[in-house]
Symmetry: C2
Subunit: 208 residues, 2 copies
Amino acid sequence: MPAELPLADAAAVAERCDAARNRQALLQAAAELIAAHGPDALTMDALAGAAGVGKGTVFRRFGSRSGLLLALVDRDEHLEQQAFMFGPPPLGPGVPATERLAAFGAARIDFVLRHGSVLRAAESAPVQRFRNRARAVHHAHVANLLRESGAPGDRVLLTDSLLATLDSALLMHQHEDRGYDRDRLVAAWTTLVRAVTAAPPPPVPRGR
Amino acid sequence: MPAELPLADAAAVAERCDAARNRQALLQAAAELIAAHGPDALTMDALAGAAGVGKGTVFRRFGSRSGLLLALVDRDEHLEQQAFMFGPPPLGPGVPATERLAAFGAARIDFVLRHGSVLRAAESAPVQRFRNRARAVHHAHVANLLRESGAPGDRVLLTDSLLATLDSALLMHQHEDRGYDRDRLVAAWTTLVRAVTAAPPPPVPRGR
C-alpha cells in the first residue's frame, strides 16, 4: 500500500490534474472553432473567448498560436509514431524494410492530407522546419529502415531527400494547387523507395 | 536611319533609363550593406538611408524586402539558367541526361551555398516556396532530363522529389546546422540521380 502523500504534494498533484483538464478543454474548444470556421479563425483571442478564460491562460498553456495548432495534431502524431514503431506490419515490424518504408510514406501522406490546413497554418520559419521533434523521430525511423534495406549511398542524406518528399507544404501544394490525388502521391513515393533501396548488382564472383 | 523619336517617347525612354540606373544603384548599395553587415541588416529603411533616396522609392522599385533580396540573386539565377539551358556540357546539352542532372544539382548546391543567407532571409510563406518563376524553370528542366533519361515512374512527382532535395532551406540546414560539406551534398545528389534514372531491367526475350 503506497505511503500517504504529504499534503503539499497532494495539492501539487491536484494542480497538475487541473492543468491537464484545462488543457484538454482548451484543445476541445480549439478543435470546435476550426471545425466551424477553419484554421485561420483560430486565434489566441478567439480561443480565450470561446473557452471563457483569459488570453494569458491560453498563452501560458501553448506558448504561441503555432504551438496551439501543433498541439492539436500532437495526439495523432503520437498515435502514428506508435504505429510505425510498434504496430502491426506493414507499418510496424515483421516485413522487409522496403515494404515498411512504402507504408511509412503512405501513412505520412494520409496524415498530411488529413491535417494539412492545420499543419500549414502552424508552419514556422524555414529553418525551424528541420528542427522539430517529430521530424527527428521520422529521420531516425527512415534511416534505420534504409540501413536494414541495404540501400546504397549516403543514407543520412538520402533520408533527408525522402523526408523532403513527404514535407507537408509540398504535399499540400501537390494535392491542393495541382490536384494530384492521394493514390498518385502514394504510388510516386513507392516508386521512389524502390529506386533508392535497390541493392547494387552483386559483385561478379572471381576465380570460379 | 531610324526615324527621330517623338518628344514624348524620348522623354519616356529617358525615364526608363533613369529607372534602370536607379535600380542598379540601389542593388549596388544593398550588396554593400550585406557585405558589411550581413543580410539581416538590409532593411528598406537602411537601404534608403545608404542610397540617399526616400523609402517610398525603395518600395516602388522592389515591392518588399523579400523582393529586394531576390533581386540581388536574380542576375546569378539568370546566368545559371543560361548555363544549364544553353551552356557547355555537362550542365548544358551534349552529354547523357543523367550526367546533366548530376551537374544541375551540383550547380544548385553551389548556388545555394553561395547565396544561402540571402535566400534564407528572402524565403516567404510555405506555399510561396512552390510558386515562383525560378522553381518553374527548374521543374521544366529536370522533368525534361528525366524523360530523356528514360527514368521510370511518375516523372512529374519525381521531379518534385528531386527539387525538394535541392531546397535552399534544407541545403542550408545540412551545411550550416549539420556541417556537411559541399562535396558530400553533391555526392549524395549524384547517387540519388543514378538511383531514380536507372532504367528497369530489359524484359527477358521470349522464344529464343
